[in-house]
Symmetry: C2
Subunit: 437 residues, 2 copies
């Protein structure tokens, strides 16, 4: 008789393994940080902690493949504006004034929102990333974080040379942390010189960490790259030697078939951010074509200033419906495909598919439970459909990360949420003050 630390029982398990196996009356046992048992209900197992899923759905924690967590402090600050007005009059002036404590607070707020909406891993690009790593480690979320690098001075590290040093110190400091890992993250092709990009790629290669960058998000970006370098983004990146399986390209909205063929050839990964692309009117990424080329595509929310939430459930819904309307084909991006993008394919895109993204014995225990005993999730013909088209993050009832229960029955166990919300509101008063000056 095996003994488990945590035993989840009485749920429909969507494993998201290679065969998309479903275990109907399922039971999942955790020992330490890992999944030790997965199968039909059994009386052979004992556990210190038993969690009854109450007939709900047990699935892998969701993977938010691209966000700027601390931007939760800008949620609703400025909507419905032209991109440059939004950036120049709101986002940049505030970012110039903020500090590490601001980023820590915003990230903790986002960690709370992510845990409460079933996200167990996020990939972050922002300023003061040491604070992001600290917040995530305190909240006990899995994450890949990286300091944003660009040609102009940063409010965090000053001149670029220090940005590389900052990144290197992050890599050294968080090496071997069970939850936090580091990436090298140049901002974009239009804010980073070819020299910066090449140096970033070299550093990523030297430390064997991901290289993460915004690519082909807007038409303005394409025009700018064409003007500067005479080519389209993917060609520019290819000429700099950036393409490869280590590269994670965020957005990829304005990408043609030839670009996709090149990206597939080099094993580049893509993170799709439908809600942000819609809200900023950036364009519609050709996700169905990416998938048909065999490219690994994950899903991200982008920051809260352009979404305006971190709910991966509504992101899945939007991702599916947006592709259907773009292709005028209701069969594309079916529920299983989209849920895979938000779980195992997202994990693979971030290079952590061996650790998380599916429920399989031996993998890290990143697990969520959705309560389906609600009018909007009744009756249940198809659990995949419910997860993608009907559920929201608010239906997640328990969240487990790396074997640790971080939310039980909607109560956060690693975050003092009242204190975090109070501090977030305090920070918002500074934001208003900075903008009124």
């Amino acid at each position: 008789m095996s003994h488990m630390d945590i035993l989840l029982k009485n749920g429909i398990i969507l494993t998201m393994d290679r065969a998309n196996s479903i275990i109907k009356n399922g039971c999942l046992g955790i020992v330490g940080d890992s999944i030790a048992f997965l199968g039909e209900e059994t009386h052979q197992l004992q556990a210190d902690k038993i969690i009854d899923a109450n007939g709900g759905i047990i699935l892998p924690g969701l993977i938010n493949g691209h966000t700027h967590a601390a931007m939760s402090l800008f949620r609703g600050l400025a909507d419905d504006l032209p991109l440059m007005e939004w950036l120049n009059n709101y986002i940049f002036p505030v970012e110039r004034r903020m500090d590490g404590d601001f980023v820590y607070t915003g990230t903790m707020l986002s960690c709370a929102e992510m845990i409460m909406s079933g996200t167990t891993t996020f990939c972050d690009m922002y300023l003061f990333e040491e604070e992001v790593a600290r917040a995530a480690s305190h909240a006990q979320l899995r994450c890949i974080v990286g300091e944003v690098l660009y040609d102009f001075p940063s409010p965090c590290y000053g001149i670029l040379e220090n940005g590389f040093k900052y990144t290197e110190s992050l890599i050294n400091k968080w090496h071997n942390h069970p939850l936090v890992s580091i990436a090298v993250e140049p901002h974009s092709l239009f804010t980073c010189s070819p020299e910066l990009l090449v140096a970033a790629n070299q550093m990523a290669a030297r430390y064997n960490v991901p290289l993460i960058i915004h690519v082909a998000e807007t038409l303005q970006e394409l025009a700018e790259i064409r003007k500067k370098y005479g080519v389209k983004p993917i060609k520019h990146m290819k000429s700099l030697g950036l393409l490869g399986p280590r590269l994670i390209a965020d957005h990829c909205v304005h990408i043609d078939e030839a670009d996709l063929a090149t990206m597939a050839e080099y094993g580049v990964k893509i993170i799709h951010n439908p809600e942000s692309n819609m809200k900023l009117a950036s364009g519609i990424a050709p996700v169905h074509k990416m998938l048909s080329k065999g490219i690994t595509v994950g899903l991200g929310t982008d920051g809260c200033a352009s979404n305006n939430d971190l709910d991966m459930f509504t992101e899945m819904d939007m991702a599916s419906k947006l592709q259907k309307i773009q292709t005028m084909d209701p069969t594309v991006m079916d529920a299983v495909t989209v849920l895979r993008m938000a779980t195992i394919e997202g994990a693979k895109a971030l290079g952590i598919g061996h650790k998380t993204g599916s429920l399989e014995a031996g993998k890290k225990a990143d697990v969520i439970v959705v309560d389906t005993n609600k009018p909007h999730l009744t009756p249940m013909y198809n659990p995949y459909s419910h997860i993608v088209y009907s559920a929201s993050g608010r239906d997640v009832v328990h969240t487990i990360i790396n074997g640790k229960l971080v939310m039980e029955a909607r109560h956060l166990l690693t975050i003092d949420i009242e204190e975090v919300m109070e501090r977030a509101t305090e920070k918002s008063l500074y934001v208003k003050q900075w903008l009124s000056q």
Copy 2:
């Protein structure tokens, strides 16, 4: 000192009146079925029941302008399919077998979901609408319902002649009901003969009730109407004398500038259903053009089989983002515009703008409270932004319809939800059985 039946206090009131007035530290008093007081917090008022909004947002109950409520029993039954396969292999075979009790159960389930997600009025088109009216009156939701009329025999009333009689009996029976009113509802131009349409319009005129119909939802429909009548849908309707302020046209996806000019000229109302149009890959309705022509446009979820929920909050989010991406302009369909569509403009579209859709003294008290004391709604710079882009129906904490509290602190007061969910699950077993035969 005035005495109120219910007093809502300590909230930010979004009145959605003509000036979109906001009352910051607001207080709303209800006497009987109506709003009696609206203003800053005051100690001059007493009340039998005091509800503390706890710093949250108080706004008009949302108006779901087009749905098929009982189709909640088909939620997730068949997704990601071509339209005709979905209809012919799933929806139609089940609809042929269902009865009044099936429709009552599905409607009660939807009433629960609507109340829990802040919808206080819905407009329904389906079969066995007497049961829809009964369910809504039991649940105490405001609604406009009408029996669907088409050329082929109906599982509810048999031959068409009886469909008109059924509609007439609904009109007579529910006349003067405080919550339920009746419309005449021919299904569409491709399922209804010109004679049916003209007779339906005459009946609507005779009883002074709305005429509601699906229009220009798909390209197939346009092709069929062109083949049969040699014209586009709006021209066909014009030639039959159907256009006028009584007409509510659902969908209007494939509508050009000339059509819109005609519709504006005749005062036709439109209900936009973005999630359904996306999920079925029907197309993108030109809502920004409708608005610029001065047409009254409401928002609807359509049925749960093509959405797959009745949450008007996510519908608002989708409506805004879909127009932004279609026009490649982030400034269109800003949060206030979209919230007006889901409240006062929706009410006007249904012809009940004098009764509901905004919070103004003398209007019926259809009011909801959103709890903003949550990580995903913190900090708050702009309450409109939070409602449209960040909140979901699950953030609604209290719902009042016609002066009556129907949900308090997420507890339904007019529906035995456990019983309804149990009955809904029983009905789903019949559906599976019917489809396997």
